[in-house]
């Protein structure tokens, strides 16, 4: 059979039901195979849209996303989604076309060194050199993408090799001697962690995206409630612990709640689970959690003690480790009363410093209120996908996510333009759920072409543009730290998003009145097909509270 037909067989064997891509010269053979392979192909308008859609699909379903592009510019357009998937540990397999082998290295038409360009931003990559390698490479790619700490894998296939006839035999086992993730967690270390937790007076559980990736949300709740452990999550971990739970402190970090950041600051023991002590969490590293000892549970040994030295390191899958930790912890019969003083303190912080903003005196929509209204209109049940900026932080603060994979955003790389295509992928992966995008007027324009895809492929995402006419987060920093010198942040009133949506064949709406906002959002969601709502909000609103750059958690402002 043709090598490209073998590719289709491999994709089916991996359980792939949809791919996102755009054809070109170097992957024409692959697209010929798609013609009657029986795998859904979503034709995107830009390869970056396809890459982010595959990420959104992977984040919403937990399955491996697949994105395709041709050689040269097709592949270079995938660079941002690949880097994004690497930073946020998203399992995606990227299959790129490459020029014919005899043209490699000759600056052939649409040739780019895809392997070389993507080398620092992949979990692994394959450059196919013989057609017989193709099936095994695809299975190895899926295995690497989904296991251990998930991540992006690139397969670069020269056009002539994909046209070859090969004898296809299904590949049933994958063995990679250099790739053996540690998943179980060391029992002795786990016991030590349980002992430390049982004697801690001011413990905090600090959970990250690893909890979502390992499917450990239920185990996290069970463990946290085995005692009265306060829980905070990173931006990537939101939904890993219910945002409505009494033991929930809110998100931590630069725009986290005071309760969460103060608790970290005064904790005597911090149990990090699938989190990586990013600079947006720690603030000034030297003053981060000065009284705490650290338990660090992570599947990636390179994360342990990377930024903050761990006293009890545990390398393993969060779900496996939490199950074992729970058993060990229950056996200790710790006295929950010892946490009484700690909770008194936390409850006081929560009561004294709730998230707050000053509402408008007139009908103007405050950006924070848009998120509250969305929360109300969707009963807190929608999958919410955001772009990157102020609107992302407000969504993280005011939409109380209660289940994993409900919150999809670009955290590590901070990719503007992520939202719409990722939502498209999420909706394809979870067709029965309401999928809403909160975008900024800056971000949305970076991949707005995917509206055409949504309309043509009948992917009914609901887009709410938090429109303040600014690159809002940059404007906020210029206001606070650069003496109000607003340099190149005013986006004006362009384009007319309502007309633009209509031009794409979507429904375009404009909301300007807070009085009817909840109802307006409900109606937008009830409108069939793709909907874009241009929501006009206060122009110069700042995201608070905030740990100023270089400051410590206890010095939060706003």
């Amino acid at each position: 059979m043709r090598a490209v037909d073998a590719v289709m067989e491999c994709l089916k064997a991996e359980g792939v039901d949809v791919v996102f891509g755009l054809p070109g010269g170097a992957n024409l053979p692959t697209y010929d195979a798609f013609y009657d392979a029986g795998i859904r192909h979503v034709l995107v308008r830009h390869e970056a849209g396809g890459g982010h859609a595959a990420e959104g699909y992977a984040k919403a379903t937990g399955k491996v996303g697949v994105a395709l592009a041709t050689s040269g510019p097709g592949a270079t357009n995938l660079v941002t989604p690949i880097a994004d998937a690497m930073m946020d540990s998203v399992p995606v397999v990227f299959i790129t076309g490459q020029v014919r082998t005899e043209l490699l290295g000759t600056d052939g038409f649409q040739e780019a060194d895809t392997m070389g360009i993507t080398l620092p931003i992949v979990k692994h990559s394959f450059m196919i050199q013989h057609p017989l390698e193709i099936p095994r490479a695809i299975h190895e790619a899926f295995h690497i993408a989904r296991t251990g700490r998930p991540g992006p894998v690139v397969i670069d296939v020269p056009q002539d090799l994909s046209r070859a006839e090969i004898p296809y035999e299904p590949v049933l086992d994958v063995s990679l001697p250099g790739y053996q993730p540690t998943t179980e967690g060391n029992q002795k270390q786990i016991r030590q962690a349980a002992n430390a937790l049982a004697s801690a007076r001011r413990p905090v559980i600090y959970a990250g995206g690893g909890v979502i990736n390992s499917g450990a949300a239920a185990e996290l709740v069970e463990f946290a409630t085995a005692d009265r452990f306060p829980v905070t999550c990173t931006l990537m971990g939101l939904g890993g612990f219910p945002g409505t739970h009494p033991q929930w402190l809110g998100m931590l970090g630069m725009h986290g709640t005071r309760a969460a950041n103060y608790a970290m600051d005064e904790a005597d023991l911090i149990c990090a689970i699938g989190a990586r002590f990013d600079d947006r969490i720690t603030g000034k590293l030297a003053e981060f959690a000065p009284q705490a000892k650290f338990i660090h549970i992570d599947i990636d040994p390179a994360e342990i003690s990377k930024n903050v030295p761990a006293h009890i390191p545990i390398v393993g899958d969060a779900r496996n480790v939490l199950r074992k930790l729970l058993v060990e912890y229950r056996a200790l019969d710790a006295d929950p009363a010892r946490l009484g003083d700690w909770w008194t303190k936390i409850e006081a912080w929560k009561a004294e410093h709730p998230l707050r903003y000053e509402d408008s005196a007139d009908s103007e929509i405050k950006p924070q209120y848009l998120i509250q209204a969305l929360y109300e209109a969707t009963d807190g049940q929608a999958i919410v996908v955001s772009d990157v900026g102020q609107h992302q932080m407000w969504t993280a603060q005011y939409y109380h996510f209660t289940r994993p994979r409900q919150w999809i955003n670009s955290g590590g790389l901070g990719t503007m333009g992520f939202g719409l295509p990722a939502a498209m992928g999420a909706k394809v992966g979870a067709p029965d759920q309401t999928v809403c995008v909160i975008a900024g007027d800056g971000s949305i324009q970076m991949n707005i072409q995917e509206l055409a895809t949504c309309v043509q492929e009948q992917i009914p995402v609901k887009v709410f543009i938090m429109n303040n006419g600014y690159l809002g987060m940059v404007r906020q920093w210029q206001e606070l730290f650069w003496d109000h010198r607003y340099s190149q942040v005013d986006m004006g009133d362009y384009p007319d998003f309502v007309k633009l949506a209509q031009a794409y064949g979507a429904t375009g709406l404009r909301f300007t009145d807070k009085g009817s906002l909840v109802e307006d959002i409900r109606n937008a969601i009830a409108t069939p097909g793709a909907v874009v709502a241009d929501v006009r909000v206060t122009r110069e609103e700042n995201t608070y509270p905030m740990i100023a750059p270089g400051a410590a958690a206890r010095d939060m402002v706003g």
Partner: protein, 185 residues
């Protein structure tokens, strides 16, 4: 200190002070890898991305044709290497890494010296070659090409001795290293 994202300017001293922990010693990393294209680039990239300078690098086959051995030396006084070794472990084609302790390790390097050797200097150079257990591998009326193997220190000592006679050129392979004792490196 000037903070990221703010107006406060950064001084050069602050930039210097901001780098991570350094061990202060030379590290010999012995890395067993799958013999596949691109492996060396992946490894070198982890150093390059951090601006680290690799001092020596050797790559060669092992007793098993599926695997190659990379021996790489890097100065822990100049660069914080802890993160880099952890990241090396994560590469799918890397099987094993050892950060070898000098005391428990046999290291060897081969060097070729082309030395200007006029009649009056010839016997002295040959004497040094004898003392260092080197070998003359090529000669002309006015030059000698000498092969020396040993530790980096021995090669450097030989270089100092012959340099005064006019060192035309020198090439070194970089160190290979094997742990002492019965166990595999």
């Amino acid at each position: 200190m000037g903070e990221p994202g703010t107006k406060t300017p950064l001084s050069l001293e602050e930039l210097d002070a901001a780098v991570g922990l350094r061990t202060g010693r030379k590290h010999v990393l012995s890395i067993l890898v799958e013999n596949r294209p691109g492996v060396l680039t992946r490894i070198a990239g982890l150093f390059a991305r951090r601006g680290f300078n690799i001092e020596t690098l050797t790559v060669g086959p092992t007793d098993n044709e599926q695997f190659s051995r990379i021996t790489l030396t890097v100065d822990g006084a100049l660069h914080p290497i802890d993160q880099v070794t952890k990241q090396l472990h994560k590469l799918v084609n890397v099987l094993k890494i050892r950060d070898l302790e000098p005391a428990g390790t046999v290291t060897r390097e081969l060097a070729l010296f082309k030395v200007s050797a006029e009649a009056q200097a010839r016997s002295e150079i040959l004497e040094y070659t004898e003392i260092f257990r080197g070998r003359v591998v090529d000669t002309t009326k006015r030059s000698l090409t000498i092969e020396v193997t040993g530790s980096a220190e021995k090669i450097e000592a030989f270089e100092r001795l012959v340099r005064v006679h006019g060192l035309i050129e020198m090439m070194r392979t970089g160190e290979i290293a094997m742990s002492r004792g019965r166990a595999e490196t």
